[in-house]
Amino acid sequence: MDEMLRVAVVGDGTSVAGFRPLGFEVFPVREPVDARELWSTLTDGSYAVVMVTEPVWAEIADLAAEVIDNAIPAVTVIPGAGSPGGVGQEKLDHAIERALGTTSFIREEGE
């Protein structure tokens, strides 16, 4: 499956603007909830990576859960400008919990 695909960045205008000159496809949204309408475009198979800012992730987490078992797109949470961070780590913890039934064991190891 060697094919060339794009990278999408979804978030508020301030956070995503800087990615455009790098060749990423940016989807600035006024309100995080607007990203729900974009979701079908983002999952149509032309994007390998979809980066979403934390406020957007909060709105689309249920939609993202539907494609979690597909190879693409890889949905990644990035901290937006002005959001505290940590949501991406939570998402990772969720996967760990799914596999191991707990995250405490890994946490102890990491700290």
Binding site: M4, K91, R98
Partner: protein, 224 residues
């Protein structure tokens, strides 16, 4: 746990024994697969966590620079400067097979080159902001790849664990129970048969004794 309803005969017993052997072999294989998946999974977690926290830090620093650039140039100027650039097909996607989990691998082609904006109207800090975003971008894509791999492995681990548990705690005990039931039923039938035969033998022997006695009495009376 519901009991298997089976006919207690030898044919069924043979079938069940064969099924149990297959189930046990499958259970062992799946358990080995689960162990290997776990090893792969645990190995990846630490690296991914470290990558995520460093990427988040770098990204926050880059956002800081963009914010300064916006403050210096004004929102409109900055928006205009950043409106250049076309979305590119940046990533070559290939697949790797890890314990029959198909994990995507992304290799990043050349990123777009920022710099098609007016240097006179934008502050110098914008260059360093875009520079730091360009540095963090490949690492962001690497992070996406690793997180996806972890998610896919987690899903496979969950599925495999369910199968292992279903075999270990449901199917194999059910089959063992059914085999035990049939063996006991057959043994009981065998014992019943044996007892009946012994009983019949006793009856026949008793009849023969009675017949012999009767014959002897008859012969005695005749000789008198």
């Amino acid at each position: 746990m519901p009991k298997l309803r089976v006919n207690p005969n030898r044919m069924e017993l043979m079938k069940l024994r064969k099924r149990r052997t297959t189930a046990q072999r499958g259970h062992k294989l799946l358990k080995d697969k689960l162990d290997e998946l776990m090893k792969e999974f645990l190995g990846r977690i630490g690296r991914t966590r470290a990558l995520r926290s460093s990427v988040e830090k770098e990204l926050a620093a880059a956002y800081g620079l963009v914010a300064i650039a916006r403050a210096e140039a004004g929102r409109a100027n900055l928006a205009q400067a950043l409106s250049s650039g076309e979305p590119l097909d940046l990533i070559e996607v290939s697949e790797r097979n890890v314990m029959s989990v198909r994990i995507p691998e992304f290799s990043v082609m050349e990123l777009g080159q920022p710099g098609t904006y007016s240097l006179a109207e934008t502050p110098a800090v914008l260059d360093s902001a875009l520079g730091s975003l360009a540095t963090v971008a490949p690492r962001l894509i690497k992070l996406a790849e690793r997180e996806k791999a972890i998610e896919l492995l987690a899903a496979e681990i969950e599925r495999t664990r369910r199968r292992v548990n279903a075999l270990e705690h449901v199917l194999i005990p059910q089959l063992t129970e059914a085999i035990r039931d049939i063996t006991m039923k057959l043994e009981e039938a065998e014992r019943g048969n044996l007892t009946r035969l012994m009983k019949v033998k006793d009856i026949i022997a008793a009849q023969e004794v009675a017949n012999n006695e009767a014959a002897a009495k008859k012969a005695g009376r005749a000789s008198e």
